[in-house]
Symmetry: C2
Subunit: 267 residues, 2 copies
DNA sequence: ACTTGACTTTCCCCCTACCGGAAGGCGTAT
DNA sequence: ATACGCCTTCCGGTAGGGGGAAAGTCAAGT
């Protein structure tokens, strides 16, 4: 039996940590002097502390370790846990490798004097004059997860009304900010005919960006558009919209093509 | 300008986080209503928040990010920082790969029904009768980092006294527990002659383990010895000692061979 | 004008796995 | 006796927020 300091030295675990393990009930000293509360450990506890260190290395939380120690014979559950840890370690390696490759690109760029956020500058803003379009649209607050439902409903409306679609579907955003769960959105499809059900989306001067890639790059696109509008002395005149040139249901995210239109005028 | 909730949605950063960034001065809202303290953000701040998210992904602390943001033009310092991060990510990948390979071995073992700590059972304990040895030794409290110094001093003593070394150097441990910085240790070398300077290390029944590998595996060896002694009904009779069959200065850690002797008797 | 529901504020505690240090008691070698 | 080292508990802190309460605010619908 030895004092906490001695046990700390042979186990390579600090006294602070041993006291903490005592406190949370993970590893109680084998004997505690009632007079002075000195903790005393036994060499046999070395095995436990080695197990704790090993499981910690494997990414177990102390809570999980406690569970393992308290049920020492349940190899099945332990095996499951360890396989989970392997999976999570594997994920982390993948993640870090991805980060590493991006860091390497970043370093290459920086060495050429290209700043971190300069990829925004490479998002190409075009100033174009759009033509008026006839559109059939439904406007409501939706959860964007249900976008597919609404667009299918819209296409079935088009069929019923015997209209002819002449362009890719689009969304017109009537809220200032993006709220994926409750969003005032106008889902529209350009059609050839001009009936009582359709409306005209007026032609306009627009700052436009073509995004090739997943939708989660859209914040970058909007950051860039905002920057461009300010830098070039424009202001936003009406709700912006996106046109989806590819069907996200049929296209891998990396191949998606989206056009973002921001109606503007000179300040 | 938009509320914190709106900005949170377009930037994919929770309101909690945005408030925290405000609190630590990392990203202050562009305007705060004096009456109700509502925070308002501008689209132009999207760029900053994208930068923050990017640097966070790269492993920067918020403090480092704040430094980067406050000195936006110092590319040299940024490059250094990023290279550091790359290095640290690289280290982490190495580390995780090591853990992963050990986890895989562990899983293989568990599937064969071999328990996590069973490697201890494979540490082979032998019960042997040692022969008495003449040794020349110095006993004192030392820092084990200076072990080399003391062993050289001992060898020079041997030379001066015209003695003949007949075995590998050894340490006899008079403290119960290992304290690397202040350790009551007897450094000894077996010698042929028996003079007034030498003493006899008596022959004894010993539990002995041969360790092949780095010294940091010694805790496992002692755990195993302790276990063995208890399981087989022995008790420890006198200070234990180690014999260093290889010179750690000349041998890579993985190749080191150490014998650990624990003098025992039947209980 | 009133209600309702969504949004915002501050405030406080919680998380992990400990580390640092202070104040005070205990042990032992000189 | 005294000094030094070890032990105890207690308090506070870490990084990056999360959870939730209590209270104020806003906009829309009735």
């Amino acid at each position: 039996m030895m004092s906490i300091g001695a046990f700390s030295k042979i186990s390579n675990v600090t006294t602070k940590t041993l006291r903490y393990y005592d406190e949370i009930g993970l590893l109680k000293p084998v004997y505690v002097n009632i007079n002075n509360n000195y903790r005393y450990y036994d060499v046999s506890q070395l095995k436990t502390v080695l197990l704790i260190s090993k499981l910690k290395l494997y990414g177990f939380s102390l809570e999980e370790i406690a569970a393992v120690i308290q049920t020492p014979c349940d190899n099945g559950a332990l095996l499951m846990l360890i396989k989970q840890k392997r999976q999570s370690i594997f994920q982390q390696i993948k993640h870090f490798e991805h980060v590493l490759s991006r860091l390497n690109e970043e370093i290459k760029n920086l060495e050429r004097g290209i700043h971190l956020m300069s990829y925004l500058d490479e998002i190409n803003v075009q100033l174009i004059e759009t033509q008026p379009k006839n559109i059939l649209s439904i406007r409501k607050r939706i959860n964007v997860a249900d976008y597919g439902l609404h667009i299918r409903a819209l296409f079935s409306d088009i069929e019923k009304a015997n209209l002819t679609p002449v362009g890719a579907p689009m969304s017109i955003f009537h809220d200032e900010a993006y709220d994926p769960e409750n969003y005032d959105i106008e889902i529209a499809v350009p059609v050839k005919e001009n009936t009582g059900q359709t409306r005209t989306l007026s032609g306009n001067l627009c700052a436009m960006v073509t995004l090739k890639g997943p939708y989660n790059n859209l914040p970058s696109v909007y950051a860039r558009l905002q920057e461009w509008v300010e830098a070039n002395g424009y202001q936003i005149t009406s709700p912006f919209y996106e046109i989806y040139l590819t069907d996200p249901g049929q296209t891998p995210p990396e191949e998606n093509i989206t056009e973002v239109y921001l109606p503007v005028a000179k300040r």
